[in-house]
Amino acid sequence: MQITKKDYAELTKKRSPNTKLPKTLTKAFLIGGAICVIGQGFLNLYTRLGFDKIDAGALTSVSLMFIAAVLTGFRIYDKIARHAGAGSIVPITGFANSVVSPALEFKTEGYILGVGAKMFVIAGPVILYGITASVIYGVILYVFGR
């Protein structure tokens, strides 16, 4: 029997289960939301301690990233992420996880060619295009924003 790529693709589609959206979306919303609530908690705390809005925001980001890095080291963050999906990738904690996890993984290849070279293997594109976008927006703001 000869089968075309098109027929094969149809069969594959029929036999490949999709992600269960209601379940995964709910979990992503709840866990992602919980991370945001914790962030808000830190923000309130730092504001109450007398930091101004900008410093309190920076401290909140640093606190969340610190916790995510520690949880990544103890292999807890990936277990949470297994359920949370985008709920734990999108917040800044996900960014911390994406930097710390290759740093730990490639420690076996040494601190230069392992940790150093591989640390931003996942986060690199985000940093590159994030900075590029911010420069472009900065230029637009400079030219038209005044």
């Binding site: 094969y8 036999r15 995964t24 990936d78 996890s101 993984e105 996942i122």
Partner: protein, 336 residues
Amino acid sequence: MGKFIQGGTVQMFNAPSVKSYAAAVGKKEGEGPLADCFDYIGEDVTLGTDSWEKAENMLQKYAFSIALQKGSLAQTDIAMIFAGDLLNQCTASGYAVRDFDIPFVGLYGACSTMAESLALASVFIENGLGGNIAALTSSHFCAAERQFRFPLNYGGQRTPTSQWTATAAGCAVVSSREMPPYINAVTFGKIKDYGITDVNNMGAAMSGAAYDTISTHLSNTSKSIDDFDYIVTGDLGLVGSELLYDLFDKDRVNIQKKHKDCGLMLYDLKGQDIHAGGSGCGCAASVLCGYFLQEIAQGKIKNILFTATGALMSPTMIQQGESIPGIAHAIHISSE
């Protein structure tokens, strides 16, 4: 001397024996339904080493040493080792075998490597080339993940069609006809690519190759599905197995009643959070060398068509927009 049949089949006339065999697995595999079948179960994923790759070397060494022990063989009795794994440069195999003073042939057939190495060993022995030849294959979940996908601690989510690379190794030593299991015929498969590009759906990438190799083997050896107790595939998993049934359905052949998939046997899919099933060279290797060969040796199973399947996936080619070629090699293993 074996007879080559167009399409990649070698019909054996002396039917070499699998003289001894052993399976060494990691902790997770040792907690699965086949736990009792394995000769060695690791206590953790590092096996006392400091890297995943070194752990995989250890697994191969264990599988090989235990197979020698079980067959009362010394290293000097082994004429050649045919070995392979998933890592770049066949790392696990080369580094495992470097301590043995035995001629080595490194093979890459992705997850089909157990069938590839065993088939080659059988053809050599059938033709009187060498006394005992070892076929050795392994994979390691963590080593494969970081080479092909993401670091272990990275918080990604696996799709329902994704499969779990087994941390396992298997070794089978083939020698001239002596006692069961016997190798009656082998078919080296053709590469089949039906345009699958989803790296999280390996089962689908391999199913077409499994269909082609099984069909070719049956027609080349004038056998039918009913001549076998089981048609055993390597690691098609849930998705690939169902696709295989669909493909044979079009030929009005019901393969489902005879089908077993090593990827679905090695783990408790729900309890161990495996998604669509196990995969990796070690998956088919450990289930063959731990379970099937033993059952055939004892006569509990008479005939299987062991068809290990491989997805020849290269992350580089996928990034260049290419699809995933599939391959499968089949071996008729018999108790008579």
